[in-house]
């Protein structure tokens, strides 16, 4: 431990310091606008540190006795979270007037949650995983209850109760994994499981080779399913999305989901990456993927509220990402192990641009109309042409049509599934994409084909407009030329121990 550890962990430390600074500045001055712009500028520091670390690519990535591993995988997500946090903070500039009184705390809590996510993406040890998971969830629960309405408190309460139950399940699973292997570090768990397999300690008739490990992994995955918004822990999603403040919901749907997938990828490949275990959890995720996306899509069909619709949409998108988790090929020929996680990471990055474009567009429109129903978006193509266009680009990307990043993400995920012998899963994914067209296109139809309810123009705030524009531009750019992002995702995934080694 020493200077090297601090340098490696500097993005996370900078983010934590920024969160504290935001709180202190708010306490001292009470000027929420100042806090907002100050922390927006401050976000440059963790981003710059992450880029510097990515470029330096130190050989020894373990920090603080192996508690975290700051490899390029975690740096990729660190950059992603920083960007998402910046977009969310910008989007709250006008929206914050609806909060009860704590406008300055909004920024501090978003940054605290981002710190948790950055730690989660680099956590290499069970205690760190649990603590950073809670650091991610608790500020978001508080933020969901920030609005004056009862719905907001209800959303926060539901989120908190389900988060508590799921973290108890996760902990119980982690305890079994710890009890079975006698260590909390993921790389040591991998080695211990290898020893046990070599010494014949595994029973091939039991899933995962042992009931202890079966229980541990199953409970831990149930706990993480809450974060991923995957079945069977998706019940909180629509309620939290409908009731919570829209910027927080955008943060939840993009960053929180990415953090969940990052930690699940790391646990699966670094701790349970041995081929015998991979076959088992691959089958588990294949089933979860089909259930999640079908459930999300079918429930989204009758929705009238756009935020609730996006809640179900986020469930179905989680289902598509789970396909990438399931796509681990049994025959470990070179490179085939990379395709599955690479497609997930690419999907997550593309989804961040796409969903931010959608949510920021929704915020830009509802800030003025204060109407979250689909009918409230009627005629926005004429009333707010730029915003409606950006929102439509986001929706088309969610639907997965070219030339957007959503199309490319789905191609890569389905491709990875077919290459690992899961063609039926890819087929289920394609069918679900077709179903999802109905509800995404309904919003676009309302904006462009229906008569507006009033003639008042809705102007776009410059800061929010720039953020939405960047998000929509990214969604198109990486749809036309995905190679840069795809390469970055590959480098990130290859730095994950357990992927590159085989």
């Amino acid at each position: 431990m020493g200077a090297h550890d601090l340098w490696l962990l500097s993005p996370q430390l900078a983010m934590a310091a920024l969160a504290c600074t935001a709180l202190v500045v708010d306490l001292a001055t009470g000027r929420s606008k100042l806090v907002l712009w100050l922390s927006l500028i401050g976000l440059v520091i963790p981003a710059a540190l992450s880029i510097a670390l990515w470029a330096a690519n130190p050989a020894d990535t373990l920090v603080f006795f192996g508690a975290a591993s700051v490899d390029r995988f975690s740096l990729f997500f660190t950059l992603l979270f920083t960007g998402v946090a910046a977009a969310v903070i910008v989007s709250a500039e006008k929206y914050a007037s609806r909060f009860q009184e704590q406008r300055g705390e909004f920024v501090g809590l978003i940054l605290a949650s981002t710190t948790g996510m950055m730690l989660l993406a680099s956590a290499n040890e069970l205690i760190t995983i649990y603590v950073s998971l809670e650091l991610t969830a608790l500020p978001v629960a508080a933020l969901l209850a920030f609005l004056r309405e009862d719905r907001s408190a209800e959303a926060g309460m539901k989120f908190l109760i389900l988060s508590g139950v799921s973290s108890a399940l996760l902990l119980y699973g982690l305890v079994f994994i710890f009890g079975f292997t006698g260590t909390t570090r993921l790389d040591e768990i991998f080695a211990r499981i290898g020893d046990l397999q070599a010494s014949g300690g595994f029973d091939s008739t039991v899933p995962f080779g042992s009931y202890g490990l079966l229980l541990g992994i199953a409970l831990a995955i149930s706990g993480f399913a809450f974060k991923l918004a995957a079945a069977p822990f998706q019940m909180w999603v629509p309620d939290a999305y409908e009731g919570g403040p829209t910027p927080v919901v955008a943060f939840l749907s993009v960053a929180s989901k990415a953090a969940g997938f990052a930690v699940v990828l790391r646990i699966l490949y670094s701790a349970f990456g041995s081929p015998e275990l991979a076959v088992e959890w691959s089958a588990l995720f294949a089933v979860l993927a089909v259930v999640t996306m079908t459930l999300g899509n079918l429930m989204a069909l009758p929705q009238k509220n756009v935020k609730r619709l996006l809640g179900y949409s986020t469930i179905s998108q989680a289902g598509f990402m789970l396909i990438g988790l399931a796509a681990v090929s049994a025959n470990t020929s070179a490179g085939s192990l990379v395709a599955g996680p690479q497609s997930v990471v690419f999907y997550l990055a593309g989804y961040a641009f796409t969903n931010l474009a959608v949510f920021l567009g929704v915020i830009a429109i509802t800030n003025r109309t204060n109407d979250n129903t689909i009918a409230g978006f009627a005629g926005m193509g004429r009333r707010a042409p730029v915003t409606a266009l950006l929102l439509a680009i986001g929706l088309i990307s969610l639907l997965g049509l070219p030339p957007t990043v959503g199309f490319m993400s789905k191609i890569f995920v389905f491709n990875a599934a077919v290459n690992s012998g899961l063609a039926w899963l890819a087929l289920a994914g394609v069918l679900n994409s077709v179903i999802s067209a109905y509800y995404y296109l309904r919003v676009i139809r309302a904006m462009y084909m229906e008569a507006p309810t009033s003639d008042e123009r809705i102007t776009l705030d410059p800061s929010l407009g720039v953020a939405t524009g960047i998000a929509a531009f990214g969604a198109v750019l990486f749809g036309v030329a995905p190679w840069f992002l795809l390469r970055a995702a590959e480098i990130a995934v290859r730095s994950l121990s357990g992927v590159a080694g085989s």
Partner: protein, 105 residues
Amino acid sequence: MLELVHLQVLSAALFSIGLYGVLARRSAVLVLISIELMLNAVNVNLIGLGAFADRPAESRVFGQILAIFVITISAAELGLAFAIILKLFRSRGSVNTDELNLMKW
């Protein structure tokens, strides 16, 4: 004598009681107490593993460290939950979870 398996059975029983409480109780306060019961069931298991498992001492101590973190975080979680419950109670006059039904489907 007392062995690891006894603690694990106790922990599993506590966890199941807690889970039942979460699913069956109406009052939000009792739901939170049930979540607390689940977390404490985990703690019993963790400390049991630390005390009985035949592992080297430096790896056994991790169970106890995790237990301390669980206690701390559950306190923070409860504090937040009660703040939200208070907010709900002020406007609704009730803390029953089956009345948290402004949003459905």
